[in-house]
Amino acid sequence: MASRPTRQGDFLDAVRRLLRRGAAAAAAVGVLAAGAACAPVEGGEGSGDTGGGAAQRTLTVFAAASLTEAFEELGGRFEEEHPDARVEFNFAGSSDLANQINEGAPADVFASADTHTMDLVVEEGRTAKEPVVFVRNTLRIAVPADNPAGVDGLADLADPAVKVVLCAEEVPCGAASAEALDAAGLEVAPVSRERDVKAALTKAELGEVDAALVYRTDIRAADGVKGIAFPEADEAANDYPVAVLEGAARPGLAEAWVEFVRSGDGDEVLDDAGFSTL
């Protein structure tokens, strides 16, 4: 009857963050719906912004959920450098974003969490230029702060007594997880294949599972979990490409954003978030 110690404070913090995240997601959906409702019918040269007053130029960036914290920080800096510009983000799973873009969602820039997802957009002829890889992300094992199952390496995840969640193989982090486990020659039976990396992280944060495979950047952004590095992570690194989209309403501003992300400023912020900059 050994009761597990739960760190009440951590737990409540995690809960607060989760609810905020849920609210943010709901808000994002609302913004997106509103945006879709007012969008020009053809995703061609947008009609520009009306009612912005002092020549406000709005740049719309669709970016993978794992870029949330870093891009928001960069957005603020970018607006300082371009006082007439406003950057609006739509953060979601890369595959969702690719589908939205292919269905004609009005976006200027797309940054995805792997090259495969970017290829889906390239194949549809939706990119204006060749996408460029700007950062790399590697996997880590996320365990609850008290590490109840005593996980210390990838091999522990193959133990049936250890509850594991992985990302679904349909999404970038799931594809990367499968590669890493293959490289290690391990068979892991997860209790769930989560829809995106943040959902997998949540399960570890709440202590519902003993381990989850997530990105290094997610561990950096969370504080209810511990990250454990493992050598096979390098076999399955994710390259993040970014591209200006065909028919962008603000092509010049979109170019400037891509350059800014790859500048010294971008490197600093992305590095701080746990990405490997190239």
């Binding site: 737990f11 809960v15 849920g22 509850k163 679904a168 349909e170 209790v191 769930s192 989560e194 519902e208």
Partner: protein, 281 residues
């Protein structure tokens, strides 16, 4: 359009009577918004049908994963409806027929799951019934029972979002039912249980069935709370909506096929049920 010219000039009174007799004459002014509403609701499905990959439809349907997800969806939604009826009808009765302080607040609380985003509902369920949840912790410690990531968790998530529909529906029926029948039965010597079984239940039956159908449909389409609380595991917790979502990540065509299956199955069941039960009400 509204002028009806009859060959033999009827008196105004006769004409009014004739209009009354012609059953349910629909005011033309309302036709425009009615049609707009209908088009708005049906148009998206036309979009689905237009984009459906008909040639490969059958091969996609025969994938074992699809069958598993559909079967899980139908069984869990039905189980969730049964649980909702068992718990929801008494709850509706409590709300409709008893007076106690805080009853209004309680009724508002019952409808909370309708309002909060299902994903948040899923997180709330984890916090209550998960391995470290306020109740789940003891389930785990005392019985070694962990709900998340099991088929039972799917049913729990569905009951959470679907039961309010049933409660609201049944409560409305109870409020609308004439209490004099029950009083008459009681004066004729029927016990409370008999009155409830032989008089009250038959009177609110259509409301219960309508509520159950609504709850079943809501449970069938449940996504957010399920994927958050029960996770996604093929054959165990991957219901149709989850399968659709993940198919969408890879190929919209597969997602459309799966959606059409869900749509077809639910339409068949709902139409059959409506005509048999609810149409009479």
């Amino acid at each position: 359009m509204t002028q009806v010219s009859a060959p033999s000039d009827p008196t105004p009174r006769e004409r009014r009577a004739r209009l009354r007799v012609r059953s349910g004459r629909f005011p033309w002014l309302l036709m425009v918004p009615a049609l707009l509403g209908l088009v708005f609701l049906v148009l998206p499905f036309a979009g689905l049908l237009a984009r459906a990959p008909w040639p490969t439809l059958v091969t996609r349907l025969l994938m074992p994963d699809v069958r598993g997800a559909l079967w899980l969806s139908l069984t869990t939604a039905t189980a969730a409806t049964a649980v909702s009826v068992c718990l929801g009808v008494p709850l509706a009765w409590l709300l409709a027929r008893t007076e106690f302080p805080g009853r209004r607040l309680l009724r508002a609380l019952v409808t909370v799951p309708l309002v909060i985003p299902p994903v948040v509902g899923g997180v709330a369920l984890l916090l209550a019934l998960g391995r470290r949840g306020i109740v789940g912790r003891y389930l785990d410690e005392w019985f070694g029972l962990t709900l998340p990531f099991t088929s039972a968790a799917v049913v729990v998530a569905q009951v959470f979002v679907a039961m309010p529909f049933l409660v609201i529906s049944v409560e409305g029926a109870l409020r609308g039912a004439d209490r004099r029948f029950e009083e008459a039965a009681a004066t004729l010597g029927a016990s409370r249980a008999v009155v409830f079984r032989r008089v009250t239940l038959p009177m609110v039956g259509p409301g219960v069935i309508a509520g159950a159908v609504l709850a079943w449909a809501r449970a069938l389409g449940e996504f957010g709370a399920t994927i958050t609380f029960a996770g996604n595991f093929p054959g165990r917790t991957q219901t149709m909506p989850l399968a659709v979502y993940l198919a969408m990540q890879e190929s919209p065509e597969s997602a459309i096929v799966l959606s059409l299956v869900l749509l077809g199955v639910s339409l068949v069941i709902l139409v059959a049920l409506r005509d048999r039960w609810v149409g009479a009400a």
